[in-house]
Amino acid sequence: MKKIDFMLLRMIKNSKSQFIAILVIIVTGIVVFTSMNMTSINMQNTVDDYYEENRFPHLFIQAEAFPAQQINRAALHPDVEQVMGRIHTDGRLITEDHNQRVNLQILSMNASDPLSWPTLLEGRLLQSPREVLVVEQFAKARNIRSQDELEIQINGVVYSMEVAGIIANPEHIYLVESAQSLLPDNENFGVLYVEHLFAQRVTGLAGNYNELLVSYQPDTDEDLLVDRLKDQFRPFGVTQVVTRETHLSNAVIDLELENLQLMANSIPILFLLVAGLILMMMLGRMVKRDRMKIGILKAIGYSNRAVLMHYVKYALAAGLLGGALGSVLGMALAGAMTRLYLDFFHIPMLTMNFYYSYIFIAMLLSATICILSGLLGARGVMKIAPADAMGSEIPKGGKRIFLENLTHFWKHLSFSQKLAIKNLFRNKKRSLFVLAGISLTFGMMTFTNSMTSVMDDMMVKHFTEFQTMGYNISLRQPVEKHALYDLPHIIEVDEMEGRLEVPFTLSNGHREASAVIIGLDPNSRFIHLKDPESLPLKVPTEGILLSQNMARLLDVDTGDWVEIQHYLPGRQNEMVQVAGQVKQTLGMNGYMDLDYMGALLFEKGLVNGVYLDSEDPFIQQKLFKASNISSVMSSKDSQAVYQEYMTMTYLSIAFMVLFSGVLGFAIVYNATMVNLSSRELEFSSLRVMGFTRKEIFQLILKENNILLGAGILLGIPVGRWFSYYSSEAFTTDIYHLDLSPTLNAYVLATIYTILFILLAQLATYRKIQKLDFLKALKSRES
């Protein structure tokens, strides 16, 4: 090994704490890069393979009922690969606790079906009409095993069924009852499969189906095929068309993988850039400190390039070591992360590959950023003339800072405050770097902490401010509004109002969106609509209000017209004017006056559900036998599911806080270390003058605290930008995220930022204790 490289190794050894701090940032960035990218690819491949192997359909078309012959007709459309029909209905599981409502989605299947194959996890497939297959998540949550007996109520009739097996199916990777539920509640909602014939019989649809499953060839024009199929099935009352893109389970997986990819490519860059900046700052200081060493190297014949490379190699060493360590750790983590995801999403298979190219990409990325930082940081080497380097450095000319001109402000500062401020202006670049680092940390902390408020907004506010009913009861068949007056005879009702909730497809030209339109009492006590400016809004007597995300999707504004495509056979599509927009975080809906909607789309005075408040503790039990009730959703239960979910969210938020904190810590620690090393002579002089080590630490503390205060202030817009950017990135058709930071988020971000920065400063205090100031005084260098 060349001696100059020996020097490099010892240089690393002598600055090991700073080197390690940089290494930690690089390793963290590369771990995230490798693990998330590999997890993302492995997940995508696994999902693709799962879809392929289990013949996950491309289209699901639900209708009132259609004869089996229509399936053969559908198969004749160009590009269609496979088609099948099935029954899709609701039911409920009878449990010992009669006050517990367990909703079921019941789907029909046969072993010879060409699409939507189950993966058998336990037991066997269906062999008789009185058998069911249970989807894994539900079976696990309710401890259901094969050969168990289940009592299932379908259309008011209770059937005793035997569990033939436990299955997984790509349709139910993310198991939720509807887009409105958003979060899985595996104990209270499940999917069961029964034989086609049995399903047709119990739903009164003998010889008919109510859902068509379609797979098509690659490069098919999906819109065209959907139009053709809709035309074919229109006479049979198309209620909903679900493409893979709009399939809830697939959409959630897609979004999750998209977010994973987004994080995999943004977080590492942020970390590597910070590492690069720290390296630049450190090397800049090293070159200054090593001025004489550089002079000697040049004097004995080392070229500018050789000396520059000596310092660049320091950065490169950090880059390569960090890249290698990070990739290895990332690879190891990728396996665990993929399994965690698969477990969370209940995917019964794994397509796992190690993409060694990511090691190469990670090393290249990390090395490139470090080399650039090295070149920029150590470029001062080129300017050092050997002759000048031999003598002592000419002190920089001192000058007043602009704050001194503000005499009134300046004279009120103590001497040490003035000193601290002057020092900050002495090395503006470093001060700016620390300032940027603290702002970044605070911004990330704000954004992270606002996630909790957002979840509150999305769920708690949704259930306490947006919709305040205790229960939302859905009816199987629409009834006249006055029929609801029977309800208080069955259960105790404090307040109630009828409503219509019907899924429709709305369109504006070629833009389409499927969503539930809600018909509301104009003076609704349960749904509190607000406009985008958060001002109260009433449903108009005519026209439709659209949630903001829906208006955006359809590209319509107030005053524009949208078409409501009717699913009932023989009914005309209706044009309706957009009367305004509704601020809504969860779900995508249209809102109309109850009577107006009834008259326009069905019959005046019809309702298909009821919102109500009730203190009745046995509401589920009492409604148990009411055959026209399809579901009873309790706001309290939904909130309980949310609370359970939040514990998981808090964990990931804690992880993010730690992430941002490490970044802030590393920036401030390294900057302070560079600061200390560059002012060794100055601090030594102060020591000779009688300053204690503690007083010198306080001086640095004061400087850093000014930056901390300013950094937090500057971090506010940074946090707002992060939040705005993330709101845009995370908003989907299903939910709209408004991540605007709350006061609470700011307070928490301030506390965490101060905590991490304080920790960084305490770490430097140990260094101050160890510094030999008197030795520094003897040195000719400063």
């Binding site: 100059i4 060493k293 004097a299 004995i300 014949g301 003339a385 050997p386 031999m390």
Partner: protein, 233 residues
């Protein structure tokens, strides 16, 4: 033919509004194998002269020649090669690398030169064989200066430029360093230029160039230079 010569060599600096003339029209010649002392008080321009001769600085006027090669016409790359192969430096404050051992400091120089001497022999010559694995902080001032000399000599340069080599040392150590330099001159045949403000040291030189205010005021050829052991200060 002189191994080294200067022709009207000048260097001036701008300090604020004042132009400082560090070196004014300096012309002299050094023959191969000579032990030359450049003598002068502080600020007389001797260090500037050494830096220009060593290719560490560029003049504002005049030329420096190594035999018939004009060093002052060299570009940055040629100057680096010149410093690497033709000249060796010894500094007042040794300027050796704190994080390399004595031997490694010497190797640092030999690794980049074309025709280096054997390191063991050089370390033996400067009496550092026993201390070669010590770091500078474990060596005395005299020993550190020996490392510095060994580093300069080991590259096998034609000329050795020494800037106040005994300036930071006590008398006894200073004498031993001068003896060493004299041996390098006599036994290894190296041309030596030593800068000093100490008139007694000048007595061991073959040629003494006296300087004041950036100019040569005397260029004396000593016919009978003293032995190092005979001088005192």
């Amino acid at each position: 033919m002189a191994i080294l010569s200067t022709q009207n060599l000048s260097k001036s600096y701008q300090m604020g509004e004042v132009e400082v003339k560090a070196l004014v029209d300096t012309t002299f010649q050094v023959e191969k194998g000579e032990f030359v002392v450049i003598l002068g008080p502080s600020g007389s321009g001797k260090s500037t002269l050494l830096n220009l001769i060593g290719g560490m600085d560029t003049p504002t006027g005049g030329q420096v020649f190594l035999r018939d090669e004009e060093i002052t016409a060299y570009n940055e790359r040629e100057l680096t090669a010149y410093r690497r192969n033709k000249v060796g430096f010894v500094f007042q404050f040794y300027n050796i690398m704190a994080n390399l051992t004595a031997r490694e400091n010497v190797e640092l120089a030999t690794e980049i030169s074309h025709d280096p001497l054997d390191i063991d022999q050089v370390l033996e010559a400067v009496d550092l064989s026993q201390r070669q694995d010590h770091f500078p902080s474990q060596l005395s001032g005299g020993e550190q200066q020996r490392v510095s000399i060994a580093r300069a000599v080991a590259k096998n340069p034609e000329i050795l430029l020494c800037d106040e080599p005994t300036g930071a040392l006590d008398y006894t150590t200073g004498i031993s360093i001068l003896s060493l330099l004299k041996r390098v001159n006599r036994e290894m045949g190296k041309t030596l230029l030593v800068i000093t403000h100490n008139g007694d040291i000048a007595r061991i030189a073959d040629r003494v160039i006296k300087m004041r205010s950036g100019q040569i005021i005397e260029d004396i050829l000593e016919k009978n230079p003293r032995n190092v052991e005979d001088i005192k200060w």
